[in-house]
């Protein structure tokens, strides 16, 4: 199937990724047969509610799934053919930050509390330098100050400890660290969920500006649809570990195809509607006891009989727009007997 729309170059190609968690009550498929292509220099937003597998997907790309979880299948190939899921320990360590960097969710607590900010960045730079090529202290400091300038921090911050910084400043320091080796891919897991909205906008603008400068790809994970609408160029929707819809941000917001996406979009509160509340009926699914067929069918207002037994596949329904729903399979193909 052709995923490459237009003439965009592929940066990361995820195929058939499966992450399982072994629990006492059976295996939970936290990431379930995910296929996803990220292009060079794009801003991709991955949306889902808690337990949808979006954070697990990010950790799997960095190979940081801890027991009892494990990557059960799949591949994640970078543009030079490197499969992230097949690298050995030292190789994946070298990929982290240098090619794939992460901006953390809990910036409040993501910096080592007993180390000065500058020292933490310099340590990271040194750990990634080839043996014998470790720059001297002065060069390192210059490098850190340059990074600080780019993210809008004063050089004096290098001498401070994390507890002396505000939440926004901490997140800026984390971003400075993430871009320190010019990565091709930045994974940002709800980078502003712990911040106030005023600071959130400043941080997101900084991230956007840096993404432009570096021409890097940003994978933004979150559940705030407003943030996604503003930041992302393409959006993917996850439900129960599966990718149910992928498409350009305008299409997702103005012309959603999957019933789950449609409900999600219509449930966003805005300043136009007052005293009216639209949610998604039913309860979220349990990964340990998932329904057969389409995972969403018990809550889906448009479900048909076949949804209970047939698992839908992600299929292209319009230019660049992929949906995993039997209703669309029916549209395209003649009903299968």
């Amino acid at each position: 199937m052709s995923v490459n729309g237009g003439n965009k170059e592929t940066l990361l190609d995820i195929r058939g990724m499966e992450v399982h968690f072994e629990t006492r009550r059976g295996i939970a498929r936290a990431v379930n047969e995910v296929d996803l292509t990220l292009y060079k220099g794009e801003r991709f937003g991955l949306v889902g509610e808690s337990g949808s597998g979006k954070t697990t997907l990010i950790l799997a790309l960095l190979r940081m799934i801890k027991t009892p979880g494990f990557i059960a299948a799949g591949s994640a190939t970078l543009d030079d053919g490197t499969d992230l899921l097949k690298l050995n320990r030292e190789e994946i360590r070298r990929v982290r930050l240098k090619r794939v960097a992460m901006v953390p969710q809990g910036a409040m607590n993501s910096l080592n509390p007993v180390m000065r900010i500058g020292d933490q960045l310099m340590l990271t730079i040194r750990e990634h330098a080839e043996d014998g090529e470790i720059p001297d202290k002065h060069t390192q400091l210059k490098q850190v100050e340059e990074l600080f300038y780019r993210v809008g921090l004063k050089p004096a911050v290098a001498r401070l400890y994390p507890h002396e910084l505000s939440g926004g400043m901490k997140q800026r320091a984390c971003i400075a660290q993430a871009i320190s080796l010019n990565p091709q891919l930045i994974l940002a897991d709800e980078p502003t969920s712990a911040l106030d909205v005023v600071v959130q906008r400043q941080i997101m603008q900084t991230l956007r500006k840096l993404q432009n400068e570096l021409d890097a790809t940003v994978l933004l994970v979150g559940h705030d649809m407003g943030l996604m609408a503003q930041f992302a160029e393409r959006v993917g929707i996850m439900y129960g570990g599966k990718l149910v819809e992928v498409g350009p941000v305008e299409d997702i917001f103005h012309n959603p195809q999957h019933p789950y996406t449609q409900l999600l979009i219509s449930s966003i509160p805005n300043f136009e509607i007052k005293g009216e509340f639209r949610g998604i009926p039913g309860v979220g699914l349990s990964l340990l006891d998932p329904p057969t067929g389409c995972l969403f069918h018990p809550r889906c207002p448009k479900a048909i009989d076949r949804c209970k037994s047939v698992e839908p596949q992600l299929k292209e329904v319009a230019a660049d727009q992929l949906v995993s729903c039997l209703l669309h399979e029916e549209d395209q193909h003649a009903p299968a007997s």
């Binding site: 808690s50 997101m204 943030l227």
Partner: protein, 346 residues
């Protein structure tokens, strides 16, 4: 008749680090001179909005009488809640209830969820018999859209977050209070369930005539549910008035910045590109410890005058703004926000 609940110039100062031998004492003003009153006979839905550290939860806890103010007083039917006698205390607890942010934490993990429903019935003598109590509980659960047979007899961890929060709403319903203080009731609930919970609160307000004080950092949900809104900044009220006016046409520079910062769910509306004027605050403590307008350090329109604390200027009938930009307008007497809100109700 005195109002149901009235906060009169309440203040809260936290002392940090004080120990018998060690640590220096530092002071943080979490709430500075806050006044509000809620009438019993005319239900209202009021939002107190602010970002983290604005003092909104402190105000909620003082209104509930679980935290003593450092200055000023909280009055229940004209009587200081600290001086309530036993039966007064009982009526206060019954009339003023709460819904909390984390729908898991409010359940004692030792008990089944029934505990949270049966205790108030028993404590406030709401039912004559066990059967009656059980019927009342079932009815309340059904009202919030839960099936009693699926919820009763379970432990909190066996239910979903949405179910747990709805049970706390059922609990509030059971008590038939006159006022519910809801502290971030949906901030820990998934977006798809948020609407259901808010709809539940709205039903209690519309159909049962219960007043609400809705504490939140999320102005979009505040707009959806409330009629009046109070915007807090570092423990002080920046702007207050009808939700429609304050959100659609903010007047205080802080409110403006706040509303412009919200990412609207419309792709390509320029939120990310548009250059915003960023004024970096050098000293984070200065905003907390200033005697003047706490926003002055970041304010694009700051003047010399802002070193003084600005009074409330009543820029129109349904709104008051605590900012010298509006000093032409009349000063609101006695800081009584209730005056402003009443105007909207007329």
């Amino acid at each position: 008749m005195p109002p149901l609940l009235e906060a009169r110039n309440i203040r809260k100062v936290y002392h940090g680090g004080g120990q018998l031998f060690g640590g220096e004492v530092s002071e943080t003003v979490a709430c500075n001179d806050f006044s509000l009153s809620i009438d019993a006979d005319n239900p209202t839905f009021t939002t107190i909005a602010g970002e983290s550290g604005s003092g909104k939860t402190t105000i909620a806890r003082m209104l509930l009488g679980v935290l003593d103010p450092s200055g000023g007083e909280v009055l229940y039917q004209g009587q200081d809640v600290r001086d309530l006698k036993k039966d007064g205390q009982q009526r206060f607890r019954q009339d003023v209830q709460a819904i909390f942010q984390d729908p898991f934490e409010v359940y004692n993990p030792f008990y089944k969820i029934d505990h949270i429903l049966t205790t108030p019935i028993y404590k406030f003598g709401l039912a004559a018999s066990k059967t009656e109590a059980y019927e009342k509980i079932q009815e309340a659960l059904r009202t919030v859209g839960l099936r009693p047979e699926e919820t009763l007899g379970r432990y909190p961890h066996q239910l979903s977050g949405g179910q747990r929060q709805r049970i706390t709403i059922a609990r509030a319903l059971l008590l038939k209070p006159k006022l519910i203080i809801a502290d971030e009731p949906v901030s820990m609930v998934d977006a798809s369930l948020r609407a259901t919970i808010l709809a539940g609160l709205h039903t209690l307000y519309k159909d049962f005539g219960i007043s609400f004080i809705y504490i939140t950092h999320d102005l979009t949900t505040a707009y959806q549910v409330s009629e009046n809104i109070i915007i807090l900044f570092h423990g002080a009220v920046a702007e207050a008035g009808s939700t429609e006016k304050v959100i659609k046409d903010p007047q205080h520079p802080y409110t403006r910045e706040l509303i412009q910062s919200i990412p609207v769910p419309v792709p390509g509306s320029g939120w990310i590109e548009e250059d915003i004027e960023e004024k970096e605050v050098e000293d984070l403590d200065a905003e907390v410890h200033t005697s003047g307008c706490p926003y002055a350090l970041r304010c694009p329109a700051a003047m010399d005058k802002c070193q003084e604390p600005p009074p409330f200027f009543r820029t129109e009938g349904e709104r008051a703004v605590s900012c010298f930009l509006y000093e032409e307008s009349p000063v609101l007497q006695g800081n009584d926000l209730h005056e402003v809100f009443r105007e909207r109700d007329r």
